[in-house]
């Protein structure tokens, strides 16, 4: 037991002395998490820039583009008038989400009920924003068609009235106003109130907090990176001959390995504790859920360290070991719900991700942090992680002598 503590103390000193690596292991996931939150979860919503080349210059064209600047769309779409040539050049440069070209005679065609065509050029490098522009334009055109049909008579009167050079006579204005009123009255039974009513029901409870939703994933990611980095130390010890020296000492290789993992677990636990404290400060994690979350993270860290150590001792060289561990770590990080939440993945990928060790650990960490863990499942999970670490420890310690020699 004393040698176990000696070995752990030695490795803790080495981890402490290599503090830049420690910072890197913690820093990378935090940086990745921060970037994800900034890119997808920040307050600033993405905006679509719509370039409008209006060759028609009539009221209809202005009404059409004005529709993009009404209500919530005004926050999402920025309309900028341009000349057609400039618009096309800027689209080629990828400077906007879309270019709307209103051809000459468009307004007249709409008023006359004749076929008319608009040209919308979209940016192929964007997906969502051009689609919003297209959908909005479709809705506007359909609305225009409905209005055209309802107010067919007054619109015809306006169309015939504006053909001349002078202003329409008072009698014509009066006739048009009366025609609008009648058409409105006729349509009101099915327009007011609308036949279909949309009711939006907001879910009860706290508002969705992107950072908090991602936070458990970031913690698991930090543990995953750190366990992967710590596992490389068996190769360092082999390269510098200290493993061989340890194996000729009158101590069990298992104790040497256990000391190394104990030190690794202590470092992982320290990082978990710091992470959880940060989580409480930044995202209001419930204090009563923190001790169990801490225990779970420390145990998961140990199990991941054990898992990566097996890969290290199975590799034929240090370089191969590094490649293998990195080749494991990155896909695990991607699939395991830390980079992308399971909810945002295709179902087949989410199912796969939930089966990864870190994905499995993440689901349980979330349950613990939400204060809703199922005791039975949690007990089995703790036993599974501990059992995995023990079994791997036994296997690796048996292989150490042959591996070192």
């Amino acid at each position: 037991m004393r040698f176990l503590l000696s070995a752990a103390r030695k490795d803790l000193l080495r981890i402490k002395n290599d503090w830049p690596a420690l910072l890197l292991w913690i820093g990378i996931p935090l940086m990745v998490g921060g970037l994800i939150v900034l890119v997808f979860g920040g307050d600033a919503a993405p905006q679509a820039k719509l370039l409008v080349a209006d060759n028609d210059g009539t009221l209809i064209g202005r009404l059409l583009t004005g529709g993009f600047q009404q209500g919530p769309l005004a926050d999402l779409v920025v309309v900028e008038p341009v000349e057609p040539a400039e618009g096309r050049r800027r689209m080629e440069d990828g400077d906007a989400s879309g270019l709307l070209i209103i051809p000459e005679g468009f307004g007249g065609a709409v008023l006359d009920g004749e076929p008319a065509a608009l040209e919308l050029v979209t940016n192929p490098s964007q997906t969502v924003l051009p689609e919003i522009l297209e959908e909005t334009l479709d809705i506007e055109l359909e609305a225009a068609e409905v209005i055209r049909r309802i107010f067919d008579d007054p619109i015809d009167r306006i169309a015939s009235g504006v053909v001349g050079d002078g202003l329409p006579a008072d009698t014509a204005v009066s006739t048009i106003a009366t025609a609008f009123n009648r058409s409105g009255e006729q349509a009101s039974p099915w327009l007011l109130p609308p036949a279909i009513e949309l009711e939006t029901v907001a879910g009860e409870g706290e508002e969705f907090d992107f950072g908090r939703a991602f936070f458990p994933g970031m913690l698991i990611l930090a543990i995953l990176f750190m366990a992967s980095g710590l596992s490389i130390d068996v190769w360092s010890e082999r390269r510098q001959g200290t493993l061989e020296r340890a194996l000729v000492a009158p101590r069990s290789p298992g104790l040497w390995l256990a000391g190394k993992w104990l030190a690794g677990s202590a470092a992982l636990a320290a990082v978990s504790a710091i992470g959880l404290a940060a989580g409480r400060w930044l995202f209001g994690i419930q204090a009563e859920n923190m001790p169990l979350a801490f225990l779970w993270l420390a145990l998961v860290g140990l199990a991941l360290l054990a898992l990566f150590t097996v890969v290290q001792v199975l590799a034929r060289s240090e370089r191969a070991a590094n490649v293998m561990v990195n080749a494991m770590t990155l896909p695990l990080a991607m699939l395991g719900g830390s980079f992308f939440p399971f909810e945002a993945m295709p179902e087949w990928m989410a199912s796969l991700g939930r089966l990864t060790p870190n994905g499995w650990a993440l689901l349980r960490l979330r349950a613990v942090m939400d204060g809703a863990p199922e005791p039975g499942i949690l007990a089995v999970s703790f036993a599974t992680a501990a059992g995995l670490a023990l079994a791997i420890g036994w296997l690796v310690s048996r292989r150490l002598r042959a591996w070192a020699a």
């Binding site: 040698f3 070995a7 002395n17 510098q240 001959g241 061989e244 009158p250 070192a404 020699a405």
Partner: protein
Amino acid sequence: MIEVETLRKEYDGLVAVDDVSFVARPGGIFGLLGPNGAGKSTTIGCISGLLSPTGGRVRVQGHDVAREPRAAKARMGVVPQEVALYEDLAAEENLRFWGEAYGLRSGRLAERVRTVLETVGLLDRAEDRVETFSGGMKRRLNFGCGIVHEPEVLLLDEPTVGVDPQSRVRLLDLVREQAAAGVCVLYTTHYMEEAEALCDRLAILDHGRIIASGTLEELRGSMGERDLVRLAGTLDPAAVREAVRSLAGVEVVAVGEDQVALAVPEASRRLPEILNTVAGTGAAVRETTVTRPSLESLFIRLTGKELRE
């Protein structure tokens, strides 16, 4: 005491050590001498318990290494061929860890760490990280880690490879001090002069087998009183071999197209005769070397090649 009986070690069918037997006694320095790849490190590996022998038996202070590994290892100190230290820890922390690995605790541990730092001349650098040390300092600390627990048996695997002359002298002194204190020292090297200067008993290994063993005097005696004469140049090996037969008491040890090695009694007196005989075969001799009887000349005589080849 180290007792090695008919030791054999195979790796995937390749025999690294075969039928090796010797006894190293307390207070003495037993040298295992041989070129690179002769099987010295494999022999040390089997004695230290790092490798499992394919056959034979090793006892350390009466404890069978295979059956009582813990008891045998507790009495051993090992100084590996390569420096085996935690470069990211201080010298003191390295000694402390290896002392604890051999069961030293608290006051005794602190005392031994300090004594060893003093012995290896690193007391003033005790708190410095090993990565800041020179090669010679690392070698001395490497030695210190092997003796921190005061072993009864000390295994040294080529501890002076790549060491500067000053540190080498210091290391050899340290080895002598251990033997003088009653420790049984097993020392492997491929430096003949080192073995001659240090060891009281020797075994010469080649291709995994002991080809000669005994005290330094016994081994020198097996060479007779003959010197080793080496003539380098352009030779006809068959003609030289035939011509040398006519020289009384001269034996061809090895001959090739660019060199011939001869065992010659009173070489300095007979050198003109030898040169005339060899030149008579049409050889062009560019260099002549005469060596007094030594382990090197014995090794050449036994194997037909130089130790460092």
